[in-house]
Symmetry: C2
């Protein structure tokens, strides 16, 4: 008889965004005429850059002619995209990487989930709290997270609180941790790490032989000069960090599906006998076994992001969202609510009025202002008492939503 992976059964049946959808639906039943404004899910709304669209249509045309047809591509991705990435995302920031250190994929969620395949099931993991839930869930599903305690914490997970007392910047763990997830600019708090802050983490990792999984999906939203876009801007990071990037938020690719992961040749982890193994080589084996490359069309679209027109259009798009964030922040600041984020990230992290839990504030905003937010507690215990608002909406909607919230408050 075939046996199931029982670890997967430990994952809760209720998924944050499904719960939100259910609550929105019940509201809709009783308020069929309400004009709901969605600032909850972190999904983009602006059209993809015209340069990407043109490139993808040309790529489709390539597939219609025998002489330009593309079948299976290289599992690691096409050179035309890898080279554009190396040149623009790294060389221009003084980071030297080789083509074989870049792995193109169908998106950051696949990579952050699947990267666990190359690591032992009993490594301890460290996460900031609050955090994007998929990091923990993917570890729960293979048993790496351990057992869920009555305190809602997993036994093999070290939680690093991001709270107002530390300006939502986590402190280094006091114990050794094998693998640490960092996401900067941060989802959900919208906070960022300065170069000096990030240095501390790289030094911790070097000193403790820790692997850092650095999620830089929101780097295109960084506006201040001192904020590193890549962890490899820190000396020594190539020895300890894997960086995961996505075109989803950079260029509106949430529906196109393309991202990439950087695994420098120097990053190693150990066998039980202490032998150091290149994670680049292991990930390459994993991908060769279980992945057949990202779509040729999506890769052509992604490469167009790096053309002069593409860069301009991406800048205009991320500027649009950041203008939303600024506008939203201005409104909310006026209400006396405590708001952080929104300066180098498309997320606002809003403290609920005194006495409100995340879900209570969520419901009030839904019923009184017809605005959908995301309850902060859905991102972890330290998210309790907060909501997350995204700046990915249409300008008028964002403004109208804020007006209603101000009115209600």
């Amino acid at each position: 008889m075939a046996l199931v992976n029982e670890h997967l059964m430990k994952l809760p049946d209720n998924y944050l965004f499904t719960d939100i959808a259910k609550k929105v639906n019940s509201f809709r039943v009783t308020h069929p005429k309400a004009d709901i404004i969605h600032l909850g899910i972190g999904d983009v709304t602006r059209p993809i850059p015209e340069a990407c669209a043109q490139a993808m249509k040309a790529a489709v045309d390539d597939l219609t002619r025998p002489e330009t047809f593309h079948g299976y591509g290289p599992e690691q991705g096409y050179d035309f995209l890898i080279e554009a990435i190396l040149r623009n995302d790294y060389a221009q920031r003084g980071i030297s990487l080789s083509p074989s250190e870049i792995f193109i994929s169908d998106g950051a969620k696949s990579d952050t989930g699947n990267i666990g395949d190359i690591l032992r099931h009993d490594n301890s993991i460290g996460v900031t709290d609050p955090i994007y839930p998929a990091y923990i869930d993917s570890n729960v599903s293979c048993g790496r997270a351990g057992i869920l305690g009555t305190n809602h914490q997993w036994s093999n997970v070290v939680y690093m609180p991001c709270i107002p007392e530390n300006n939502f910047i986590p402190e280094l763990p006091t114990q050794r941790v094998d693998i640490i997830y960092l996401c900067y600019p941060n989802n959900p708090t919208g906070s960022v790490l300065s170069k000096n802050e990030l240095k501390k983490w790289v030094h911790y990792a070097l000193a403790n032989d820790t692997l850092i999984l650095f999620d830089a999906a929101y780097e295109a939203y960084i506006r201040q000069p001192d904020i590193p876009h890549s962890i490899y801007e820190i000396k020594g990071a190539k020895k300890v960090a894997i960086e995961i990037r996505s075109f989803s938020k950079t260029a509106g690719f949430t529906g196109v599906r393309c991202g990439y992961t950087v695994i420098p040749k120097e990053v190693t982890a150990a066998t039980l006998t202490g032998e150091r193994i290149s994670l680049n080589k292991l990930w390459s084996k994993r991908q060769n076994t279980k992945f057949n490359g990202a779509s040729y069309i999506a890769q052509r679209g992604a490469a167009a992001i790096y053309t002069p027109e593409g860069k301009e259009q991406v800048k205009a798009m991320t500027d649009y969202y950041m203008d939303n964030a600024r506008l939203m922040k201005r409104y909310l600041d006026g209400t006396g609510l405590k708001v952080s984020g929104g300066e180098n990230a498309p997320y606002l992290w809003v403290k609920a009025p005194k006495g409100f839990t995340s879900w209570q504030f969520f419901e009030h905003l839904l019923y009184e202002a017809h605005v959908v937010s995301t309850p902060g507690v859905g991102f972890g215990p330290n998210g309790e008492g907060y909501i997350r608002l995204t700046a990915f909406g249409e300008r008028k909607q964002c403004e109208e939503g804020m007006r209603r919230i101000c009115q209600y408050l």
Copy 2:
């Protein structure tokens, strides 16, 4: 210190198609002017159907307008594609499935690899020999395959020989096996299972509480009426089988990346205490955690396969390849070589002349006829003494290749 998954290190460094590429490259160095004909890798060469191209270009256009923009899609896939699949691939064959039993993905290789995530690491597995290597490799990489013996067999894998004595149709295992991989029409032998043959496997699975992973990637090449296109044509299969499908070979989507997996609600596996768990629900959890849906563009392209024009164009394409197969078979039959497959599958399984190993025959074909084949031993020990030829080439190339082989022989 982070520890690696040491099971991944058991995978051989040399990958079949990389080895082939190396041998071809050395040939090229010594024969720079040779016109090499590639009938090795199972990749398509014909343009994608015009209907799919039109649909994908329209999908790209959708992404350029705010009112038709598509961001994150449903993790399980869009209804427009799921419904087309249900209607055309299943209802028309008398198989009733519900939308939530279909999971759209970026391709069959991802699904056949990742499906192991929902199953315990110590289930025994059964494979035909020869076999598509990724089935075994994905099990090796999580420890499920056990230890590699001196006989080149993994300790937790039951091998079911496909040899001339059984007409390349495997016999039921004499022992219980937890999970069995079946791929029909078969890669690499090109053999098929009749309805009666497939029935035996479903009955075995029902009697032994075995899970069947049925890879039907080549079903579009079936030409005879008695050959089942889906395992669910067999009564009872919904209790024991997961079916994996791909648009890669159906519509030239190897570069587009789209496929799907069917997990009926009735398929269950057990916990250690004997509780039966729905694999549909577990896979849904796995995908929600580690996957963000297939590309909107690819899904629109795939849906176009099911339009009247799409169907006609797919038929023309698969007919083209099957005409290649027929032509190739006719040539090879004339040489006295023993050839099977090629009637309901785009692969020819060719016995090497007496005394030749797979690699020796491969090298002879390369150096004497300038034709690239795939050594059968790359698919497993029982592939020794065979080569695989694919019918996915351009017509003139296939014919010229056969002419050269005949001349050389």
